[in-house]
Symmetry: C2
């Protein structure tokens, strides 16, 4: 039996894009669970863009990872020792185990997985935080109506693909944006987008805007914001009066340091942005899904069966080995993944 575990710690804070030396692989003794706690052997961990934010010490919605601390991540694993009546060895659970092979957690912090909901990896993507983020943001703040037009970027990612599929099911025209022709093909063929634009094929925001306008002849009613940057600048002028903009992320700006004016190509100014919110009667809502767990059962009840039946498609990109997590994460921020990025740990 293993009595050593491995983990990846934050070695230093990145300036701009993270580099391999910002991370450090460490070994440590496997901890003992206390009363009410369980020991979990992590099988799969999730990599998500929000983790970039945790590497900075800027004020944000969550505390930063301390230098030397284990990088945060959700994961799925198997209970291998339990000091709680609620879980027993062999149970499959979801929890915030970090970038690590093992973790001790209070049983009440873990969610036991239901095998009826398909493979355990689904709990990291389509039926986990990313899928829930897309569903909640669209239904709560997007207020979709049949016949409207929706735009979402990272269209093959676990958030964007959920947004697009739910919106399509409600009768909206769905236009995705993705990085590369291969991703665009998947967006339309696998996720049913009516159209998908390759942002790499349009060097500037105004070029991308022209292509978008052609695909959105009735303008844009919902822009589901998960990227910021060039895509925001391209879409923003196309948004219709009474448009809605749920904001769950802005990956394009995560590596931009202080997000100064230089981060935006066309210099969309704050006053111009603010004025558009007024004169177009826009509704703009930022959110983080961890404030909305009360809706998670409703999400699972609605989307779980659709995933099981294949009505909602999903795509996973599974890397191998904890030691490869930093490189995989760096690639994720560059859009090198195809679908929900997961790392197989054991």
């Amino acid at each position: 039996m293993t009595d050593q575990m491995r983990r990846i710690a934050l070695a230093s804070r990145p300036e701009g894009a993270p580099r391999p030396e910002n991370f450090r692989l460490e070994t440590a003794p496997v901890p003992e669970p206390g009363k009410g706690e369980v020991l979990v052997r992590v099988q799969y961990m999730s990599l998500d863009p929000y983790m970039r934010g945790r590497m900075d010490d800027a004020k944000s919605y969550a505390a930063p990872v301390p230098i030397g601390g284990t990088m945060e991540a959700g994961g799925v694993g198997e209970v291998i020792a339990s000091h709680s009546p609620d879980l027993k060895p062999g149970d499959q659970v979801f929890g915030m185990f970090g970038w690590a092979t093992h973790a001790v957690q209070p049983a009440k912090m873990l969610r036991k997985l239901d095998p009826a909901h398909g493979p355990v990896t689904a709990a990291l993507g389509v039926l986990g935080m990313p899928g829930f983020t897309g569903w909640h943001g669209l239904t709560e703040y997007g207020r979709p109506k049949s016949g409207e037009t929706l735009v979402v970027a990272a269209a093959t990612g676990p958030v964007g693909s959920m947004v697009g599929q739910v919106a399509k099911g409600l009768g909206l025209r769905t236009v995705g944006i993705a990085g590369g022709a291969d991703k665009c093909k998947i967006a339309t063929e696998t996720f049913g987008f009516d159209a998908c634009l390759d942002h790499r094929a349009h060097a500037t925001a105004s070029e991308l805007r022209k292509a978008l306008a052609a695909e959105c002849p009735k303008g844009v009613d919902i822009y589901f914001e998960n990227v910021g940057g060039k895509v925001l600048e391209a879409v923003f002028p196309l948004i219709n009066p009474h448009g809605r903009i749920p904001i769950c992320g802005m990956i394009a700006w995560y590596n931009a340091g202080n997000l100064g004016a230089g981060a935006a190509e066309e210099k969309l100014t704050a006053p111009a942005l603010w004025r558009s919110i007024l004169v177009k009667f826009l509704s703009v809502n930022g959110f983080i899904i961890s404030n909305h767990w009360d809706r998670f059962p409703a999400f699972l009840a609605e989307i779980g069966p659709k995933v099981a039946s294949g009505e909602i498609a999903h795509l996973e990109d599974i890397a191998e080995g904890l030691e490869n997590a930093p490189e995989t994460f760096i690639g994720l921020l560059q859009g090198r993944n195809l679908g929900k990025q997961i790392v197989k740990i054991a």
Copy 2:
């Protein structure tokens, strides 16, 4: 009987702040009402900041006033000839009569005033579009909760004073911002604000912010946006997580031409603004009250009796004579008025 009327036309579009030569006083024959129409002798007209927007031909929520067209305004007046069974001579009505001494309008476009609601001028301010704007924006998008803190500028104006009084009645701490010590005194003594800051006494956004922070020890939960500019820059960093920002105007920027980056002192950037909406889970909603007339009866039912009883105070600044409307309007944009700006026409 007069058979000539006077009106004020838009002579030219202003560059920046309007000047007297942008307006032209004209005379014309009093028009004859057609079938279903009435002729109204205007008694009082309203001057409001939104009219500055109508002078530009920039794309906005409403069509611009054409060059040579009569400036737009709401007003109250007396029906002096009627070709409609719904109104008779002597009736007092509210309508969009423009900057003019007389107007012909379809009877169905007019609202007959109820003398129980106090003096007719109330229909231009506390019980008209400005008061309704404050009430609707606060209750619909502000979602006020007892114990929270609200900030609103133009605190002695008809929008800000309504917002402050309704919020105070709901148990919020209310902090106003106004231009001048005299206005601040009125804000606290007449409108019950817990505190009021004179933005003219704080030259920069950061100085104003410091003073605001002292008056908002628990941060700001609702920033009711009606001014933009320095006040926005001062307040924005103080907004709490889950804060709400209803936006009904931005008078500070109305004269700023294309609202370029230069309009903002501290260069609040679009990416920084966007990021704050995300990481603080803000809810930002632009609106124009004319999209929400369905709630007007509820507004009158709630606020009408409170105005009659004096529970809701209001303040009117009445200039004399149509010919003085341009100068009065220019003064309004500079904050020279004290309370709801009205012009007595007849």
